[in-house]
Each structure stands twice: as structure tokens, then as C-alpha cells.
């Protein structure tokens, strides 16, 4: 059952084709977790579920700006893709309300990476 190169390429193409349009990435390395990423991740996943949205919330590694963790990158159709830093529960709720639903950026938390 070893994988062949064809299997690898097939899996690659399949996964790429499934890539969701709307996604949120949460920095979930030690730096992010220490700064409170778990709480943020939980709020985002719960809200996405509660609103029954076509939105993938996923855990990722660290992009490097550890001083601004927890970092959340948001890509929603109809709004620019941005990084939010120093996100807490409250900001996570605002990201869902304002950015995801109303396509408006949340103030005071955007960082350019």
C-alpha cells in the first residue's frame, strides 16, 4: 500500500481542489497558545458552527510576529485578506460579526506581516 508518485500528485490535486474560499487561520504554536490562541480558536469555531457558515477555521504554525500573538489571518470573499494581532475573545467575536458577516475590517488590531 505504499504511495506512488502518482498517488502523491493525485492527493495534491484533490486537496487543492477542495481548498475553501473562506478561511481563518489561527497561529497555534507555543507562542500563540501561550498568548491565548485556544480561547480565540474556540470562539471562532463555535461561531462559525452556530451561524452554519461555509468557513474553515484552522490551526496553523507561527508566522513570526510573536509579539502580536494571538494572530489570526482572515480571508473572506468581498473583504481584503488581513492579519489581526493581539486577538482575544472579544476581538474574535468582533471579527466574526464585523469582518466575516459585514465585510468590514475590525479596528485597532490589524498588523502587516
Amino acid at each position: 500500500m505504499a504511495m506512488t508518485r502518482d498517488d502523491l500528485n493525485k492527493l495534491k490535486a484533490e486537496t487543492q481542489a477542495k481548498e475553501p474560499k473562506n478561511w481563518i487561520r489561527v497561529g497555534y504554536s507555543t507562542c500563540g497558545v501561550a498568548a491565548g490562541a485556544k480561547e480565540v480558536f474556540d470562539v471562532l469555531t463555535e461561531e462559525a458552527k452556530a451561524r452554519n457558515m461555509d468557513l474553515l477555521v484552522k490551526k496553523c504554525g507561527c508566522v513570526g510576529l510573536c509579539s502580536a500573538e494571538p494572530l489570526v489571518e482572515v480571508n473572506i470573499e468581498g473583504a481584503p485578506r488581513v492579519f489581526y494581532g493581539k486577538v482575544n475573545k472579544e476581538v474574535a467575536h468582533r471579527i466574526m460579526d464585523e469582518h466575516v458577516c459585514q465585510k468590514k475590517l475590525v479596528e485597532n488590531h490589524i498588523y502587516e506581516i
Binding site: T30, G78, L105, N108, I110, I113
Partner: protein, 577 residues
């Protein structure tokens, strides 16, 4: 809908910026454009010391030194027409380049599908198709040198092990990462575990090893968990185990935990530790590439080195070799910490200058204080003063300055850091971590540390400086392993570049940075003192007394020189001498 981003790095919305924000909004409203654009305050646009900075999305135009008189122009040209206001425009130089961190923050480290969708395991498939000699040839073309400290060419190390006859060989990934302030390897293990595994399998294939071992410190539980999960799923998918990609090549991987001794990052001590022995280094030769784990030929590579390998075998050695500078190709990840505004991980092509890293990427020094030095290479490295900040980063260039690239710690020091105190800190670290096997390191380190303590306590004598150099030389020459050989580097480099500071401590009994408690005296200037009492409330030993009328004074007999009063006084009334 457009977005007008306004940078407010301090987060305090100073008056000038608030006015601009309000004017932007009212201008949009007055012109019936309120629903065409959103004005957003943001924490960082990545442009510093260029006045008020505005960025308009989706175009991405950045405008600097923006005044309220520019608003009409920006709105008319950019918001309405999507055109650039050339007079204000600024191109933000992109100094970073992501190879090692290519997937960190982008893919889910616990999903092999995500890794594969981002070209994962393509490098391994290429390697297995081209055969071991060609793999080493690619590595030679890439010019990759070890990222764990010594900078040994990776292809050469692999070739040495490959050349040894025999069935059993090993490849070990060194994830011990013990330098204070360094966490590049942790981030890579946590953020992109498959890239390191892929690099290891490629290395194993090139040298003829069938077994790979991850040596990771136990203090990195998340890294260990993610690597273990990645190993398990690789077995399930047939990317580890028997007959990988139908090539007939078998490879197994396991994890060993380190217990957090710095010396266990040294390759021979690491091998002893994996064998279940006490983590003592041993003399080389024989080098591990010939006689390593269980006396078998063993390649030891750093985490970042292996993460580069999977990239090189995917993109080709030649392309990689074009990045960076002569002798130091590719990129380097640094853990930028200390008194820098944006601390974190940065990855830059070799040849980027220290100044670019600290100022353009790191945003400069905290509270805009004066920078004094940059420390690279951790406890084996050295302190680099201002006049060399334009040095391009590379293995040889840093060595010439008396420091080393090391594994990538980069600590920014400002005017409040005392160079004698810092070298005492690093040396103290090596003394704590010395395994005690060889005398130069065990005894020399302690003696040097005693002298440094004396100096910082104001008991230094002139010949102490000479003694420091003498012991340092003995340690460099006679220590068994890299720990002792390099432990004196921070002391030597600070003595070389900041000799004046040592002399001030020894001759004048003063600490210019005000750090060494025995050498500073605090007093309160009664004219400036408002009698608020904040200093007295922050004094841990109740050495400050007074009231609103009489003002406050410090009882020198009780004062321990901690400097709390100096830090908290809002009126500059506490004096430090």
C-alpha cells in the same frame, strides 16, 4: 468597498492622527462616499518613522507623511479612481524571504494533505528518483551549510558518511535548541513538521541510513506531539516504512527526548544521550560521520538545515544557490528579541545587513532609545557594536567581527544594557551548563565568572582584565567541546568593543549603563520632587521616606540599588550616578 488603513502603532490615537481620522471620515461623508470606503485604524503597516502612514486597499498603495491637506487628493484619485497619488507614495521594501518558514502560519501542521497540497514530499519523490549521488550533487550546488552553529557544508557531511562502508547508519535531527532567546527550531518543528521529516528521509537516502532519530528537548511538548503525529500519519500513508514511493528504500523514524542540558546539543554529547548514557561530549576525531551512534556512521543535522533540504530537492540546488551571498547561500531565520519593537522570527536572505534586520524589519529599538549592540550566536557568540551594523550577515562576515552566526539568536541591546553584566550573564549560563568533564571549561569558566562578579561589584583590579583574556585563551584552546571553546566569546567580544566600559567599572567604579547595582547611587532632587511618593511605594526595602512637604529622600544604608524609583519617577527627580 475600499479600506483606508491608518497606522496607529502606539494605539493611543494621538491628537494629530485623530484629527486626520475624523477629517477623512467627514470628507467621505460630505462627498457621499461614506459607503464606498471604510476608514480603519490599524496597529502596524510596517512603515516606521515616516510621519502619518496611510494604506488604501485593495490597491495596496502606501502613503507617507500624510497631512489633512492631502485627504481630498487621496480620496479623489485613489478611492474614486483607483489611481496612485505619486507625491505621497512609498514602496515598502520587502526584506524578508521565506524558505524555511515557507509553510509556517499557512498550513495546518497536523494535516499531511495540507502539506502535500503545498508541494510536500515532492522533493523526496525527486530524490528517490535521482539516486543518492545526484542528491548529494544537488546539495553541493545549493551550497547549503549547517544551520546549527558550525556552518559545515551539508553535502560534504553527507558525503563523508556515504563513503563509509557498512550496513547500519543513522541520521539524527538535532532539535535540542538550547541557546537562550532562540526558538527558530521550535517554530519550524511546530509549524511545519513534515518539511523536517521530508528533509531527514532525503538525507537518510543520500547517505544510506535506514533509521532516523529526532532528538527534541522535552521542554518542547507541542513540537514533540506534532512530529509524532506527522510520523504516524507518514507510516499510515506509506511515506515512512518499507519501500517508499516504490523505490525499494526503507526508512524508519523515532523520537528521543532530551532533558534540557545545553551540552546535549553538542553532537557527541547528543549521541551519548541517545544511547542512554550521561550527556558527556567526547574528543573528535573520530567524527560522528564516521563513528557515531552505536559506533555507526551518523549524520547529525539541525532542524532548519533539514527544512531547507526538502525545499532544495523540490526547487533544485542551483536555484537555491543563487539566493544569498558567496559562501553563505540561502536564507537564515533569526529569533529577534531583546529591546526591539517587533520581536519575533524573521527570515532573510544571507547578505542582509544587521541594520536592515533590526530597523527595517524589527521596527527599531523599544521607546526609540539608542541601540548599543546586537548579540548574535548566543552564549558562543559575541556582541556587535554600531559601527558594524552595515555588515551583510554571513558565516564568515560575522566571524570576522568576533561573533558567529550560531543557530540564529539575535538580541538587541540598548543604552541601558551593561556590557559587563551581559557577558556575566552568558558566561554564567555556560558555567551552569558545563558538564564538568574537562578542566579548562569546568575551572576556567568559574574563575572567569568570579572575576566578572568582582568587577560588577566594584572590586575589580586592573590586572583582572588581563587575567580574563588569559583564561579565555586557555579555555578556547584546551576545552574538549564547543561549549568550553566558545564560552568566553561574549566576554572577549565585549572587552574588544566596549573596553571603555570595563575600565569604567574597574578604575572609576562606575557602571555607565546604571545596571550594576553596587556601582550606582540613587538620590532625589528636592527641586524636582513633587512629593507624590510613587518612589517610596515602589521601593522593595522601604529605603525611601518623606512626605509632600519635606519631599522624599533615600536612605543609602538601606538602598539595594534596584533602580525601581528611577524607573517609576515621572518627573525625573530620581538621579542615578
Amino acid at each position: 468597498m475600499k479600506q483606508i488603513l491608518m497606522q496607529d502603532t502606539s494605539g493611543t490615537l494621538k491628537k494629530e492622527l485623530r484629527d486626520l481620522y475624523v477629517s477623512f471620515n467627514s470628507h467621505l461623508r460630505d462627498n457621499g462616499l461614506a459607503d464606498k470606503a471604510q476608514v480603519v485604524l490599524v496597529s502596524d503597516i510596517g512603515v516606521h518613522n515616516k510621519g502619518m502612514v496611510v494604506k488604501v486597499l485593495p490597491e495596496g498603495f502606501i502613503y507617507i507623511n500624510v497631512q489633512s491637506t492631502h485627504i481630498a487628493d487621496i480620496v479623489a484619485k485613489t478611492v474614486v479612481n483607483g489611481a496612485k497619488v505619486d507625491a505621497l507614495a512609498y514602496e515598502r521594501p520587502n526584506k524578508q524571504m521565506r524558505i524555511v518558514l515557507r509553510h509556517c502560519g499557512i498550513l495546518d501542521p497536523e494535516s499531511i494533505e495540507d502539506y502535500i497540497a503545498h508541494d510536500g514530499y515532492q522533493g523526496l519523490a525527486n530524490a528517490l528518483a535521482m539516486g543518492p549521488e545526484k542528491v548529494i550533487e544537488e546539495m553541493k550546488k545549493s551550497g547549503l551549510r549547517g544551520r546549527g552553529g558550525a556552518g559545515f557544508p551539508t553535502w560534504l557531511k553527507w558525503n563523508l558518511t556515504r563513503a563509509v562502508k557498512g550496513e547500519a547508519k543513522y541520521i539524527i535531527c538535532n532539535g535540542d535548541e538550547g541557546d537562550p532567546g532562540a526558538y527558530m527550531d521550535r517554530s519550524v518543528l511546530e509549524g511545519d513538521p513534515h518539511a523536517v521529516i521530508e528533509g531527514m528521509v532525503i538525507g537518510g537516502f543520500a547517505v544510506g541510513a535506514r533509521n532516523g532519530i529526532f532528538y527534541i528537548r522535552a521542554e518542547y511538548p507541542l513540537a514533540v506531539a506534532r512530529i509524532q503525529k506527522a510520523i504516524d500519519v507518514c507510516y499510515a500513508k506509506g511515506l515512512l516504512g518499507k519501500d517508499i514511493f516504490g523505490s525499494g528504500f526503507d526508512f524508519d523514524v523515532e523520537i528521543r527526548l532530551g532533558a534540557g542540558a545545553f551540552v546535549c546539543g553538542e553532537e557527541t554529547a547528543l549521541i551519548a544521550s541517545v544511547e542512554g548514557l550521561r550527556g558527556y561530549p567526547r574528543p573528535r576525531p573520530p567524527f560522528p560521520s564516521v563513528k557515531g551512534l552505536w559506533d555507526k556512521p551518523t549524520v547529525i543535522n539541525n532542524v532548519e538545515t533539514l527544512a531547507n533540504v526538502s525545499y532544495i530537492l523540490f526547487k533544485g540546488g542551483e536555484a537555491f544557490g543563487k539566493i544569498g551571498i558567496e559562501g553563505s547561500t540561502g536564507t537564515k531565520v533569526f529569533a529577534l528579541t531583546g529591546k526591539v519593537k517587533n520581536s519575533g522570527l524573521v527570515e532573510v536572505p544571507m547578505g542582509t545587513t544587521l541594520r536592515e534586520i533590526v530597523f527595517d524589519i524589527g521596527g527599531g529599538v523599544f521607546e526609540n532609545r539608542a541601540i548599543k549592540a546586537i548579540q548574535t550566536g548566543g552564549p558562543s557568540g559575541g556582541m556587535i557594536p554600531q559601527e558594524f551594523f552595515d555588515t551583510p550577515v554571513g558565516y564568515e562576515s560575522l566571524q570576522k567581527l568576533g561573533s558567529i552566526m550560531g543557530s540564529g539568536g539575535m538580541i538587541v541591546m540598548d543604552e541601558n544594557d551593561c556590557m559587563v553584566d551581559i557577558s556575566k550573564f552568558y558566561l554564567g549560563f555556560c558555567v551552569d551548563e558545563s558538564c564538568g568533564k574537562c578542566a579548562p571549561c569546568r575551572i576556567g569558566g568559574v574563575q572567569m565568572l568570579e572575576i566578572l562578579k568582582k568587577i560588577t561589584q566594584g572590586k575589580g583590579e586592573l590586572d583582572d582584565l588581563e587575567k580574563l583574556s588569559e583564561i579565555a585563551e586557555a579555555m578556547q584552546r584546551a576545552s574538549l567541546c564547543g561549549l568550553g571553546q566558545t564560552a568566553a566569546n561574549p566576554v572577549l567580544s565585549t572587552m574588544k568593543y566596549f573596553g571603555m566600559e570595563y575600565e569604567k567599572h574597574v578604575i572609576n567604579k562606575k557602571c555607565p549603563a546604571g545596571k550594576c547595582a553596587s556601582l550606582v547611587q540613587y538620590s532625589i532632587n528636592k527641586e524636582r520632587c513633587t512629593g507624590c511618593g510613587l518612589c517610596a511605594r515602589n521601593c522593595p526595602v522601604n529605603a525611601i521616606s518623606g512626605d509632600r512637604q519635606t519631599k522624599y529622600t533615600i536612605d543609602m544604608a538601606k538602598c539595594i540599588g534596584c533602580g525601581n524609583c528611577y524607573e517609576v519617577c515621572k518627573f525625573g527627580a530620581v538621579l542615578r550616578q
